[in-house]
Symmetry: C2
Subunit: 378 residues, 2 copies
């Protein structure tokens, strides 16, 4: 369905279908068609593949991590080397995560106060301090197209902690906006609030009112139920203005992507497809396959006969199983290509379904086929 | 220099320059321009890169190993899956090594008799037996374009052992010829004889007289001096008929390639470039670079400013050093691409130098520049 002129200079909403949205994000390194899935390149590389392979997969936006790159090789060094695009040779748009999630994961080695967080490096134990201002400075050195506010990311189930963390996140969001100086970067705010409907509503209103051109939803897919996650997306979606892209952080299961797109999400990232690949699991539209399984030793089919990725167009399950049994690195590369292609092409198909007004049909059909792979594996 | 019609249906010698030769090898999977360097794909994969990347590097012939593939996944399984080309998705020519070198490397767990070798698998300790007939059957199952006779590969310095091994190698070579049944594969004989001039001469004469369409020189680059190696190449070269390609097994240092081409060698293989890449060493025409070195942390140059490989056209030394320091797999992939390109392009340049009658000039210039990289590393 055409929705008319709901747009900013950063984002255009082109069509909706039920709660689903199709749009375009404009960045200095090119346009992004949404919904989209962004592969994760934590340390300025999507693990096990080249930028050329990433482009062949059809990836458009790549995520890197400010926390990791601040510690190694250093954001100032990357700036001196020409910025992150030049450094990692990715010509397309890049998004940097602020490091909030990573710092708050260091539960044993960090101390939070209202001004920021002091923590010990996971690499060498050295002490560091991040504040909203520092996190913006780091991301300005890195030079991604989209940068993220510094947020406090609590466990989703503790209401008292979630309320405190939300208030701090709003305060830090204001400070990030004030600290930002580069005009060629867009800063996203992050909605928190755990699994508490009133907190999520309050957080979405607060973050939206600050004027961020894009809004992320943090603190989900970290242990809560699927039902809770989807309920939070519905509440947040009902509050957010339609002219800003909505980014659900850290979500990458195919079923979750579909349910989230139906609830208005435009952007996703997740380490799932790349991490699974290194653990020899293939992600398909029919479920997961453990490619180490001996049943594949003489299987001449590709991982997914309907998949158009390089791996599926070129290699058999038998060959992949041989590479895994032989401890060959190429297994991780070929499975990374396949798994990323599965999610990137799925979001492209979801976009087309929205444009065609077929989102519910696409979703019903997909979910009916899901897990068809399971029986032969057990 | 044009040499006129020195050719068989398998090999054409197009030009010579001093001892150097330029030719064409015809195979069912395409022509090979010689001299050439063949990347090693021991377990049916050139470690850390895809066949697509291998093709982009300019590689033409790929080596795989009969011993490894017999043990895992099994040569009969590969035959059932359509043969090695199909299995590993390499459309170009393939050569399989017979496994002689690997079996004889298992000094603690093999027993040789005049009929063959009994050994224990390096994977699971199971007992196996290889004979010349069995080795041909394995290689016929694998289906490479060029297959190798089963040889005994001794330490190069023990004369008594070398004489015995040579006699056995000649006997096994005859048996391999008799056992061969496929008309779409070409079988190479292997010259042995250690560092003993009279044994090498005797072996080259014996192997040449058996009518192999191509002849390999084994048992070199295994601990002897460079001087001894080159002396053996000169002796063997003086005996071999000019119309058969000459393959120096296991040699891959750039300087050795040049010296060997000047002495009539047409084909090379070596694990050096791929193994060095996984140990983070870059092979260049100016010497070796240890890319982990902290001096590269802010070096915006490519590994080799004159190199045209994907890695050098795309990435800085600083980025490669970051990948290595961060434990990222992509480092091995990018260095493998670079190191293989260095040797593949070097043999292509040597071929052109022969055709242009410039081999000595090329060699002098190359050797004068060699090791220029060394000082900044120390």
């Amino acid at each position: 369905m055409d929705v008319g002129p709901v747009s900013t200079s950063f984002f255009e909403l082109l069509a909706t279908d039920g709660g689903g949205r199709a749009g375009i994000i404009h960045t200095p390194h090119g346009d992004l068609q949404t919904p989209l899935f962004a592969p994760v390149g934590t340390q300025a590389t999507v693990k096990a593949i080249t930028p050329e392979q990433l482009q062949q997969i059809g990836a458009t936006l790549v995520l890197a991590n400010a926390y990791h790159l601040y510690l190694r090789p250093g954001d100032e060094r990357i700036a001196a080397l020409g910025g992150l695009h030049e450094f990692m040779a990715w010509k397309g748009p890049i998004l940097t995560d602020s490091g909030g999630f990573q710092v708050f994961s260091l539960t044993e080695s960090r101390q939070v106060d209202s001004d920021g967080v002091t923590f010990r490096s996971h690499i060498d134990g050295s002490t560091h301090r991040l504040t909203p201002e520092k996190v913006i400075a780091i991301q300005e050195n890195l030079g991604a197209d989209i940068i993220m506010a510094f947020d406090e990311c609590p466990e989703p189930l503790d209401r008292v902690y979630n309320e405190q963390a939300m208030i701090r996140t709003h305060n830090w969001a204001e400070r990030c906006l004030a600290a930002k100086t580069r005009s060629d970067q867009v800063l996203f705010g992050i909605v928190q609030g755990g699994i508490f409907a009133d907190l999520r509503e309050q957080s979405a209103s607060a973050i939206a009112s600050m004027g961020f051109p894009g809004i992320a939803i943090g603190g989900l897919s970290v242990g809560e139920s699927k039902q809770d996650m989807l309920a939070m997306l519905e509440i947040v979606g009902s509050v957010l203005p339609p002219d800003r892209p909505r980014y659900l952080m850290g979500v990458g299961f195919p079923q979750d992507l579909i349910e989230a797109v139906k609830r208005g999400i435009d952007m996703f990232d997740c380490v799932l497809p790349t991490r699974m690949a290194r653990n020899h699991a293939a992600l398909t539209r029919l479920g997961r396959l453990n490619m180490r399984n001996a049943t594949f030793a003489e299987d001449v089919r590709p991982i997914d006969p309907d998949c158009k990725c390089y791996t599926c167009l070129t290699f058999t399950r038998a060959y992949l199983r041989h590479l895994i049994a032989s401890g060959e690195m190429l297994a991780a590369t070929l499975l990374t290509i396949h798994n990323l292609y599965t999610l990137v092409s799925l979001t492209a198909d979801l976009r087309q379904a929205v444009i065609d007004g077929q989102l519910d049909q696409f979703s019903d059909q997909f979910l009916a086929n899901d897990n068809k792979h399971r029986p032969p594996e057990s």
